[in-house]
Symmetry: C2
């Protein structure tokens, strides 16, 4: 947002303070927290379905679904068999720490190993809001075009990992996976990058390994 | 935005007042103004390239490019041979009327028939900001998934027309053009819908006819 910066700064500072409170709580519980950021239709929810399927109960997941209007995604998570709470932002363009705090009260996060927050579909606004997460992951789908990391760098700068999704469409799209990877790394050389097709399952295993590793690491640091 | 509503309301009211000033100016000049809204990678810039190519000088276009960071799109417009001004929002998530006013000063909009404003790639935030346009057009690409009009209805509600792009990917994607169309019309039954592939050129002619019609209509009302 470019409007009323002083007020917005106050709001984001209050948000960061609350995010730190949440982060302390997650550390005490040993819960690994992931904030998924992407444009609408990049495949956040489908990746989550594949993740739940692939982990097959070996990591106990909870999900917070941020959506501007419908409950479509929360219903898909519920059907996939994980505890889920929806945050309906009523048209709002991102999640904030206070929404996560409210949602946690309804989720019962005490017996999960990892919390995945699916942010509102928006590659810009969610990137600046700390939700108390351990890692942000940005998902970008190949048909969006391989220049997207350059054009919307904020999410790639803020993220620990990037998932390049819908790689199965490479033969039919002018975009190239390799160029997308190079562009993402040119914005943030520290990114872990996963090339994935949620349709064919290609590349999902490496992503699952990364999740398992981060969950184990968090649990080891608990207390 | 869900934060600081009173301040934001003041800002949007000031925006609407300025948008009305711009609208009066465009009416006097007989310039048709289009606000293009879409997620990153839906194909706004490529549709514009096809539009410039297809109109082939029969409609004199000017373009304002809204981008959060790079000049990639403005350079593509310049290469396509139309006058273009870039508004770099510095990470901001939408365009506002004051940005259009500034950009017009640099564009020299006196000898154009139509002004196309390519908004920042974001399906949420740009929908609520009046830029003095005659019509908003929302572009959604098929691989984003045919549920997107339901999940992100604001753009479809605010728009006069919707372009369903990348229809050539239908055989390779779980999404269906017909379902996308039905979902868009269920949100806004008054939408004109164009099914387009900017890759193959399919459907572009109907879109060009619509532009020509709206430009002629605006010119006829001039003065």
């Amino acid at each position: 947002m470019t409007v009323n910066i002083p007020v917005l700064k106050e709001v984001t500072e209050a948000n960061s303070m609350l995010a730190d409170v949440l982060r302390t709580r997650f550390a005490e519980q040993g819960v690994f927290v992931l904030d998924l950021i992407a444009s609408p239709g990049a495949g956040k929810t489908t990746l989550l379905e594949r993740t739940i399927e692939g982990l097959d109960g070996s990591v106990r997941l909870g999900v917070i679904e941020g959506d501007p209007h419908t409950s479509i995604d929360a219903e898909r998570m519920s059907a996939a068999g994980v505890p889920v709470v929806e945050v309906n932002t009523g048209g709002g363009c991102h999640l904030e720490a206070r929404m996560i705090q409210s949602a946690l009260g309804q989720l019962g996060a005490d017996d999960i190993d990892a919390l995945v927050i699916e942010n509102v579909g928006n590659l810009i606004c969610p990137t600046g809001w700390d939700l108390g997460e351990d890692a942000k992951v940005v998902i970008v789908s190949l048909p969006e075009g391989d220049d997207k990391p350059l054009k919307y760098p904020m999410g790639f700068l803020a993220a620990d990992a990037a998932v390049i999704n819908k790689t199965d469409l490479e033969p039919y799209s002018p975009a190239e996976v390799e160029t997308m990877r190079e562009n993402a790394l040119s914005v943030n050389p520290d990114l872990e990058i996963f090339e994935v097709s949620c349709m064919t399952g290609d590349g999902v295993d490496a992503w699952l390994d990364w999740i398992r590793g981060r969950v184990a690491e968090k649990r080891a640091r608990q207390g």
